[in-house]
Amino acid sequence: MKTHVSTVVNGDAVEFLCSPSDTLLHALRNEIGLTGTKEGCGSGDCGACSVMLDGALVCSCLVLGVEAQGSQVETIEGIAHQDKLHVIQEKFLEHAALQCGICTPGLIVSTKALLEENPAPTEEEARYYLAGNLCRCTGYDKIIKAVMDAADVMRQGA
């Protein structure tokens, strides 16, 4: 039996059907068609599926689809305003903080959560906050530089 779920994704009211064992990640990708959220492990170890659920950073592979009932979900697709990139996205591009790009959506969602919690992280705080987001291409160096630069710009803008 599938359950009918009503939720809000990136500000849009969304409905989908979901089996009791389906994850939120599965629902986002296969029912709603938002494939920007990636699956790297399915076990909460890589962070590629990071989304915001009612303001909390979660691995959407560890959340059931039915848990999204009545909640607010924010995914990578909701971070830019149409063609206007968020400063975090701009800084990732400027610093060449992505190579293959598969971890990038999760890292950008996590970075946004970091900077909302802590607008002035030290480099060490940024490295520990983002330790749940695996990147195999970059060695993290340029990612951390992009995050610190984005934090600076966002603080100036605030």
């Binding site: 089996s19 293959c100 330790a131 195999r136």
Partner: protein
């Protein structure tokens, strides 16, 4: 002279053209395509590391109402000796077939046996349980020592060792032996005042790309069948699937999706031929994905190795002899990178007498795949550790010892050619004067240094550049962009055409829309595909001159072209590229430049890495305090992405040195098949990775480019290993330097 040139765009840090899609979630990767009517495939995998399949019954699964098709090894029509003998099929075709769906034996835990396609992903998984398999379980062979000992269980009953001086008389787990030599190794050791000799080992590791393998396919009897997948080489996927399924190349179209990392591991096929069989049998599009566990258990690990190294030197540091014996695990089927291991191990050294032998050994682990400079990290780890030990025994600075013996232009390599201009000495000198090397080491810390070499390749690339009537254009290339290469292609074309890079849109075309391109691998893309882009752009410049000449009623020789503008040499008239395009209708239609090349002259890239570590004596945990990667790029087209290659390679090497390894149970089950227990480096594990780009131009490339993708993973194993050894005051001979291993060493030391 390349080094004297002033560039408009080369060397700038532009925004990559595919960047917007990749930071907004719009870019489509392997698992992101769904097609109407699509069903899902799933694979039954072996619970045993080594067993004969005594019976395989899929009838119950086939009869299930949710199941549309079942595939087994019997569905490969063209795995026949004739095609292989005729040279029209790859020599490893049988192995590829038996790897993607087992034939009569399963050779590793997780080996694919059969596949089903069903209405949903869950239904396909459930249907696997309806397949009945009976096994005769055999002894698993899990190490090189176990594989080569007398009486070892054989993985392949008919495998005779190739490359022996006398033909093998009995089957063995050693697939092949090779040797390389120069000079007289015995004389070399006789001339030595000091000899260092030691054995080393490295573990099985995984490339660890974050995107699991995935594919969506649609078989079509009336037109080309479509395969969508993340691959480093869609033309190679097409060739392998065509051979396995007895199809012509023109009957298959492979679309390379965006690719979420590969590092060599996405240069073969796993799911694609199986999915196409299921699609053919069911008449439906089929999607298949691997779980992370499947990725670890059944795709690409890099070979574990055992190496013996012996080096002789004069007391002034002149190395007189270098000798090695290298064993590589191939996994379940022959084909470890022992060849490149033997070829690269001593190439950083200009030494008269060398001897290297290599052995390719099969074991009950997944079939090894390429991993960034395949074979070199294992071999050069052993050589560089021994060279550092020699430096220590001689009381010499490790950079000075290397400078005294460094390979340079004219050095005779052990594998054949003499080196052309190379940048090893430049890298060593840059390391010596680097802020890192000049800095004082922290207390209780160790510092390690190592050099690294990788050949780099050229090969076939095909490119077209189409110009639009307004002067914008598109670059149609066929090299999957795994780390930002579209940006480099755009910059190189823009440099030749004298226009802004953003006016040219690079497109990685499918196998129907551009001619053949070799796989993105061997650090070839910016070099070889870049060379094709440059040639295609030069073709356009010739056409622009001819079109302008026609408009001015002069000969093309009377037209000059620079910085995007054509000049009439016999008047003061000028026309920009955009103006010529706007008038192209009057001069014969629109403009396309093209190049189909087989690029020669790939320039080898050398690197030198520096690493400082501290080891916690109570836990055995190593902290990397400082790290610097220095490498010759020839010419950095986009410096940020060049640095990114250095940094990424360094960190993969740090992971290999400190934590990563396949852990097996006695019965051959990998016990850490997930990112929690197979621990790749995290952001919190690392310091800044400092980089120094050395530019010794490759004279065979118009801009001086050398490939940079692979060399960066070669030096870290010994740079980290030596730093750890210095920090704990004990020799390191076995990777990874994981906390339990180091703790044991420290406890024994007391």
């Amino acid at each position: 002279m390349s080094e004297a040139r002033e560039y408009q765009h080369i060397g700038q840090r532009t925004i990559r053209p595919d960047g917007f899609d990749k930071v907004t979630g719009k870019a489509n990767y392997g698992a992101d395509l769904s097609i109407p009517g699509m069903i899902w495939g799933a694979i039954l995998r072996s619970p045993h590391a080594h067993a004969k399949i005594t019976s395989l019954d899929v009838s119950e699964a086939e009869a299930h109402p949710d199941v549309f098709a079942v595939a087994t090894y019997q569905d490969f029509p063209s795995v026949n000796a004739e095609a292989v003998a005729a040279g029209t099929a790859r020599k490893d075709l049988f192995d590829t077939a038996a790897n993607v769906l087992a034939d009569t034996k399963v050779l590793y835990h997780g080996h694919a046996i059969a596949a089903v396609a069903a209405r949903t992903e869950a239904a396909a998984q459930a249907a696997l349980e309806l397949i009945q398999v009976a096994y005769e379980v055999l002894d698993p062979v899990l190490t090189i020592d176990a594989a080569i000992k007398d009486g070892a269980a054989l993985l392949h009953d008919n495998m005779m060792t190739q490359g022996l001086l006398e033909p093998a008389s009995a089957a063995s787990n050693i697939a092949a032996r090779m040797e390389l030599k120069k000079g007289d190794i015995d004389l070399g050791f006789e001339a030595a005042d000091i000899i260092v000799e030691r054995s080393y080992e490295t573990p099985t590791v995984h490339q660890g790309y974050i995107e699991p393998h995935a594919t969506t396919v649609r078989f079509d009897d009336n037109g080309p069948s479509m395969i969508w997948c993340p691959t480093q080489g869609h033309f190679d996927v097409r060739a392998r699937v065509a051979q396995l399924l007895n199809m012509e190349l023109g009957q298959i179209k492979v679309v390379a999706s965006e690719i979420g990392g590969g590092f060599g591991g996405k240069t073969t096929v796993y799911l694609e031929p199986v999915a196409l069989i299921l699609s053919k049998k069911s008449g439906r599009p089929v999607k298949m994905t691997m779980s992370r566990e499947d990725v670890f258990r059944a795709s690409g690990p890099a070979s574990a190795s055992q190496s013996k190294v012996k080096i002789g030197a004069k007391s002034d540091g002149t190395i007189t002899a270098m000798q090695a014996s290298l064993h590589y695990e191939a996994g379940a089927f022959k084909g470890s990178p022992m060849g490149p291991g033997c070829m690269t191990i001593f190439t950083p050294y200009d030494v008269e007498n060398m001897y290297v032998e290599g052995f390719d050994v099969v074991v009950n682990k997944p079939k090894a795949a390429a991993y960034r400079a395949p074979g070199a990290p294992q071999a050069e780890f052993a050589a560089e550790m021994a060279v550092n030990e020699l430096a220590s025994k001689l009381g010499m600075d490790p950079i000075d010892l290397r400078l005294k013996n460094a390979a340079k232009e004219g050095t005779q390599t052990i594998y054949g050619p003499k080196l052309k201009t190379v940048g090893l000495e430049a890298c060593l000198l840059a390391a010596k004067s680097s802020p890192h090397y000049q800095s004082t080491l922290q207390e209780n810390a160790g510092r390690g240094l190592a050099a690294g070499f990788w050949f780099n390749i050229g090969g076939q690339s095909s490119v077209m550049i189409h110009l639009n009537p307004d002067g914008t254009g598109s670059i149609i290339e066929g090299s999957p962009d795994i780390g930002g290469s579209r940006a480099s292609m755009q910059m190189m074309a823009a440099e030749v055409l004298g226009v802004s890079p953003s006016t040219l849109n690079p497109i990685v075309a499918d196998t129907e829309h551009v001619a053949y391109n070799q796989t993105t691998g061997g650090s070839r893309t910016t070099f070889a595909t870049g060379m094709a882009v440059i040639e295609a752009a030069e073709d356009i410049v010739d056409q622009l001159k001819a079109r302008a000449a026609e408009l001015w009623n002069v000969t093309p020789e009377q037209v000059d072209y620079k910085n995007g503008v054509a000049y009439n040499l016999s008047s003061d008239e000028r026309l920009s590229l955009a103006e010529i395009c706007a008038k192209a209708e009057k001069t014969g239609g629109q403009i396309t430049g093209r190049a189909n090349i087989n690029a020669r002259g790939a320039g080898p890239s050398f690197a030198v890495h520096l690493c400082d570590v501290q080891v916690d004596p109570e836990t055995g945990k190593t902290d990397v305090l400082r790290y610097t990667a220095i490498q010759d790029a020839g010419k950095a087209i986009h410096p940020s992405y060049v640095e990114g290659q250095f940094q990424g390679g360094a960190v993969q090497g740090i992971g290999w040195a400190l934590n990563e390894e396949y852990v097996y149970s006695a019965d051959g089950v990998m016990e850490n098949a997930g990112f929690l227990d197979y621990r790749i480096p995290l952001a919190s594990d690392l310091p800044e990775i400092e980089t120094i780009i050395v530019e010794v131009p490759n004279s065979f490339h118009p801009f001086g480019v050398r490939g940079v993708g692979e060399t960066g993973i070669v030096p870290p194993l010994a740079a980290v290993g030596t730093a750890v050894s210095e920090a704990i005051g004990l020799p390191i001979t076995s990777l990874p330097c994981s906390p339990p291993k180091l703790l044991e060493l420290i406890m024994k030391r007391g």
